[in-house]
């Protein structure tokens, strides 16, 4: 069984990434929720990196969407990057790929977080 871990690292000043590794489901969705809630308010933009996320379920997606709503309410931004395989497929099936939430590369994700970008 794939394990699960989260890692936070700085990107450009004011921006950071939380990378998800392993399988994100009901058992660990709370960990991601807390990690995002714990991101210092000084960061105005967060990328949730899914390149090493091998599996995501609807609870994991719901946690990310709720966190994004909270970020938006605070005038901050949250996007998702680099989904592959099962993660990419479920985001497509649920219609979320077309939502301005998901970017293919970290560069695209960072560009979308900048104040001059839309949405």
């Amino acid at each position: 069984m794939a394990g699960f871990s989260l890692e936070q690292r700085d990107l450009d000043p004011g921006y950071c990434e939380i990378s998800v590794e392993g399988e994100l489901d009901l058992a660990v969705a709370g960990e991601l929720d807390e990690a995002i809630a714990g991101v210092d308010a000084g960061y105005v933009g967060l990328v949730v990196g899914l390149a090493a996320c091998e599996f995501i379920d609807s609870t994991g997606i719901a946690v990310i969407l709720r966190a994004r709503r909270r970020f938006v309410a605070e005038g901050r931004r949250l996007v998702v990057c680099c989904p592959a395989d099962q993660v990419e497929r479920i985001l497509a099936v649920t219609g979320l790929s077309r939502d301005g939430l998901v970017y293919e590369s970290l560069d695209d994700a960072l560009a979308a977080l900048r104040p001059d970008a839309d949405g």
Partner: protein, 134 residues
Amino acid sequence: MEGSDVEIELPARPESVALAREAVSAEADRLGMAPRCLDDLRTVVTEAFTNAVRYAYEEDVEGRVAIAVSAGEDVLCLTIRDFGVGIFPRPERELPSLHMGLPIIGALSEEFHLTSRRGRGTELTVCMPMGEAS
């Protein structure tokens, strides 16, 4: 659940979800399911089992969830069953919900059958293709 090749029963706990996913996909892999279909199957097991864990039982009850897999030539059918309240309005506890569990299952399967009996539980049977073609 007659004629099923594999049957397992697990406690209705969050930690059981990964076990259910692994058990079902290992069996499907052994039966020769194509990789892309395996991914969809893993999603379907997870969504169905998660619903049973989140919604079937009152918070102070430790319920159980039964899984059965039965394979035909081109199709694999998966049954997930709980002995809880039946499909019912349930409050969200700590974790939010996407409200797309059944729709995801419908999108990834050929067909599914859901039976809900008030106070007696929910049974979901999902039929998935074994290979890319179908």
